[in-house]
């Protein structure tokens, strides 16, 4: 266990420093001076030169990178030129919004895809299995923005049951709960298509093991075979995959957030990137990677807890 923690924390630190260095140098080597990017196209050359000197941008990259890491470590994430607020406030506000969206979606994805995956995988190549496999393949093939447009055209344009935007401001006669329905539906459909096929594949593999045949041959009811023998073993591999979905739910939902004008973390980074809000991009990328690696570790941890063979 101690080795596990040390190994993973070391990887976390390695990843974070690699990513921060990458994003930092990307700012340096992309066309145009850093000061020019901060001040915008309408600043005079004198202003650009002045800021370059003030920020010490005429010093070597490595020196400035070390300084940058020092400021980060002291908890100062910088100032967002896009939102005119400290980066920390901007990030946590948007992250909280996305966490809400992700939590609701995650609460739907896990039970839905577990049931579908297990039911499909317990009798391979049955009609039910083929049906579920086809359905999940097709659903996972539709890009999120297209799913959003399809669902919106039915439930917003045609039926008028739901609002087409989810700004989280309870205006226009729609409650926040009603606003969340469509974004959550898009995420759940798109993501469970993938998770279902993973759980199904794992279930199919487990059902071919000798101990399942033994359980069937000794006359256990099929229900008991599935619930008591197959399920726990079949969920081993997917647990890691399900944990990895958190990563997608936090950072990958930028498209869904854009479709429904949802004030979330992904859209914040998109805006930062489009406006060349460098401090926000750098901090946002670090937060995204931190979350990604941590969920990765949690997935590994869950795997260890479920599998008695490597629990020691």
């Amino acid at each position: 266990m101690k080795r596990f923690v040390v190994k993973h924390v070391a990887f976390l630190l390695l990843t974070l420093s690699a990513v921060s260095f990458l994003v930092f140098t990307l700012n340096e080597f992309s066309p145009g001076a850093v000061a020019r990017k901060i001040l915008g196209a309408y600043a005079t050359q004198e202003q650009v030169d002045l800021l370059t000197k003030q920020m010490g941008l005429d010093r070597p990259v490595l020196v400035r990178y070390v300084e940058y890491v020092k400021t980060l470590a002291s908890g100062d994430l910088g100032y967002s030129t896009r939102f005119k607020l400290p980066v920390r406030d901007v990030i946590f506000k948007h992250l909280a919004n996305t966490a809400l969206l992700a939590a609701v979606a995650f609460a739907c994805i896990v039970p839905l895809s577990t049931v579908l995956g297990v039911v499909a995988g317990m009798r391979e190549a049955s009609r039910l299995d083929r049906g579920i496999l086809m359905f999940s393949t097709v659903i996972a093939s539709i890009p999120e923005f297209a799913l959003g447009v399809f669902l919106a055209s039915v439930f917003v344009v045609w039926l008028g049951w739901l609002p087409g935007t989810a700004t989280l401001v309870a205006g226009g006669g729609w409650s926040v709960a009603a606003q969340l329905v469509l974004p959550v539906a898009v995420i759940v459909l798109f993501d469970s298509g993938y998770v279902v096929s993973m759980i199904r594949a794992s279930m199919v593999e487990v059902m071919q093991r000798p101990y399942i045949r033994t359980a069937v041959l000794k006359g256990l009811p099929f229900r008991a075979v599935i619930l008591r023998h197959a399920l726990r073993n079949a969920m081993l591999t997917p647990v890691t995959i399900i944990m990895l979905q958190i990563n997608y739910l936090i950072a990958g939902v930028v498209v869904v957030e854009t479709v429904f004008a949802y004030p979330g973390f992904g859209r914040m980074i998109l805006e930062a990137a489009l406006f060349k809000d460098i401090a926000l991009i750098e901090a946002g990328a670090l937060v995204a990677v931190f979350l990604a690696v941590v969920t990765n570790i949690l997935g590994d941890l869950a795997y260890r807890l479920l599998d008695p063979r490597i629990r020691a």
């Binding site: 093939s141 890009p143 297209a146 447009v149």
Partner: protein, 298 residues
């Protein structure tokens, strides 16, 4: 499937060898035709390829031509079968022309990722030790990064062009391929024919590319097919986010971005490109399902 390919002895120019190849291909095509998902998938993908190739001939209008008169009635009509967009451009023509960049960029990026990923995976699996450790760690780092955020950052810095998209897709997908190839190399490098090649004094590069890689191709082909589908999704998503191919040339994702705000009035403008991109990805993914079934049966 698991027969080692002795490339040196079978040169494709001799008539006997070409007959062997032809027979092998015919058998594969026949097997594919047996699988329903694969048949549907191939049909969809081929249909889009043909439509894209014939776009200059069959598109009723130039893709960027505005028909201002049609703006009064943008819905599908006799003059515009799928209607027009908010600038009076014929949707059918734009869909047909828009198939071209996607069908070039997505496969090219997959080929790039396969080439780079195979080399990295072969080197990691074959040499082991610190080379393996370095490559595996580097791949882990790239993979731990949420891809779409990586695209946003890189494309926002360097601007977006077809080549930049191909480059970014190649770099981010190569680690996945590298992982697969590394795993298979670890297994394959212990085989007798690899030992035999070493005894013959073949170079490491020859052993990796000629003895090992061809035998790792099964899972690779399925994965490349899936990747192509994902790439289509990502190219569409980038277009939708406004960091895809630059306007005005038609790009499916960009067409949705331009028009989905008008869905309450003209839903068809966004629905048509959405249907086009969805059908293409469904085609690639069904093909992958079919290929995987075949792989399992072997």
């Amino acid at each position: 499937m698991s027969t080692p390919v002795a490339a040196g002895t079978l040169s494709a120019s001799s008539p006997a060898a070409s007959r062997v190849w032809a027979r092998r291909w015919r058998r594969r095509v026949a097997a594919l035709a047996e699988s329903t998902p694969a048949t549907i998938g191939i049909a969809i993908v081929l249909a889009w390829v043909v439509l894209a190739l014939l776009a200059p001939l069959i598109a009723p209008y130039p893709p960027n031509a505005n028909d201002m008169a049609a703006l009064a009635h943008t819905q599908p009509s006799k003059a515009h079968w799928l209607g027009t967009d908010h600038l009076g451009r014929d949707l059918l023509s734009r869909i047909l022309w828009g198939a071209r960049p996607v069908l070039v960029i997505a496969p090219l990026a997959v080929l790039g990722a396969a080439a780079l990923g195979s080399l990295l995976g072969l080197a990691a699996g074959y040499y082991g030790r610190w080379i393996d450790l370095t490559i595996t760690r580097a791949c882990d780092i790239v993979l731990s990064f949420p891809v779409i955020i990586l695209y946003m950052i890189i494309l926002a810095h360097f601007g977006s062009s077809a080549w930049n998209i191909i480059g970014v897709l190649t770099l981010t997908k190569a680690p996945i391929i590298a992982r697969i190839v590394r795993g298979m190399t670890l297994d394959l490098r212990e085989r007798e024919y690899v030992a035999a090649a070493k005894m013959r004094g073949e170079s490491a590069l020859y052993i990796m590319l000629v003895e090992i890689l061809p035998n790792a191709r099964g899972p690779l082909v399925v994965d490349m097919c899936l990747r192509t589908g994902y790439n289509v999704i990502i190219i569409g998503a980038l277009g939708f986010l406004g960091i895809g191919l630059p306007p005005p040339d038609p790009d499916w994702g960009g067409m949705v971005k331009d028009t989905y705000g008008m869905m309450m009035v003209w839903p068809h403008m966004a629905l048509v490109p959405c249907a086009a991109i969805s059908s293409l990805v469904v085609g690639f993914n069904l093909l992958a399902v079919g290929l995987r079934e075949l792989g399992l049966r072997d």
